[in-house]
Symmetry: C2
C-alpha cells in the first residue's frame, strides 16, 4: 500500500526476508556452537537420537527430513568424534541402532543450551509477545503445508 514512492530498491519480499533471517540465525548459531564441536545439523541429529526410543539411521533421517544417504555421512562424522555409536539391531540385522555415547550426551546438553541461548538472544529485539507470535505463525505455516501434501 505504500509501495509507490518507496526509495527502497525492492519492496521487502517474504522469501527474501525468510532467507536473510534464516541465514543470520544460522551464523549466530554457528558461532555459539563452534566451541562445542558440532554444527547445527549435527546437533539436530544428536537431539533426535536422544529423544526417546532407539532409532535406526533411516528413522533418524525421516525425523530430520533428510535422505538416508545424507544421514550416513552425518553419523560417520559424529561417530568419528566419539559422539555416537552404531550397534547392529539383533532383531533386524539390517538396521543400525544409533546411540549417544556419554560424551555425546554431555555434548548435546551443552550445545543445546548454547543453541537455545543464541536463539533467545536472536529473538530478544522483538520482545516476548512478538517473538511468541512469530513462532506460532511459522508453525501455522508449516502445519498448513502438511495439510496439503
Amino acid at each position: 500500500m505504500t509501495a509507490d514512492t518507496s526509495p527502497l530498491p525492492v519492496e521487502p519480499r517474504l522469501g527474501h526476508l525468510l532467507a536473510r533471517v534464516h541465514a543470520r540465525l544460522a551464523r549466530a548459531s554457528a558461532l555459539a556452537l563452534a566451541r562445542h564441536g558440532v554444527d547445527g545439523q549435527e546437533l539436530a541429529v544428536l537431539a533426535v537420537l536422544a529423544c526417546g526410543e532407539p532409532l535406526s539411521q533411516v528413522e533418524a533421517a525421516g525425523r530430520l527430513g533428510v535422505d538416508r544417504t545424507t544421514m550416513v555421512a552425518l553419523i560417520d562424522g559424529l561417530e568419528d568424534h566419539g559422539l555416537v555409536v552404531r550397534r547392529r539391531n539383533v532383531q533386524d540385522r539390517r538396521k543400525n541402532i544409533v546411540g549417544l555415547t556419554p560424551y555425546g550426551e554431555e555434548c548435546l546438553r551443552h550445545a543445546e543450551g548454547a543453541r537455545l541461548a543464541a536463539e533467545r538472544r536472536f529473538l530478544a529485539p522483538l520482545g516476548e509477545e512478538t517473538a511468541a507470535t512469530l513462532l506460532r505463525a511459522l508453525q501455522v505455516l508449516v502445519a498448513e503445508d502438511r495439510g496439503r501434501e
Copy 2:
C-alpha cells in the same frame, strides 16, 4: 529447562521452522511463476532493474546480495529469453547498463502480480493482523543484522 522427558522428537527449532516455511513458500511461488517463464530469482532481478535508475550488473548484484559472477549467468538467461538487454555505458565503457525490454516489463508486471497473489494465499491462514506482525518481526530481525555488521 524441559528437555529431559519430552516425548516430542525435537522441540520446534526456529531454524527448522524458517527453513521449512521458506521452502514451502518457494514451492508455492515457483508454481505460480511457472506459466510466466521466470523463477523467483529472475523475477527479483527484473524488479531490481525496473526500480528507478539504470543499473550495471555489479549494482544489480549488490542490491540482490549475490556475486557479480552469479549475476552474469542470471542476465544471460534473461537476455536469452528476450526479457532484458545489455547496453554499453558510454560514460564508462566497462559497465553494462541492463534494461528491460517491453516484453520484460510485461513479464515483470504479470509475474510480480502472480507472485504477490501467491504470497497472499500463503499468508492467508494467519489472518491479516498476524501476517502483518510476522512481516514486521522478520524485518526487525534483518535490520538488527545490519546494525551489527
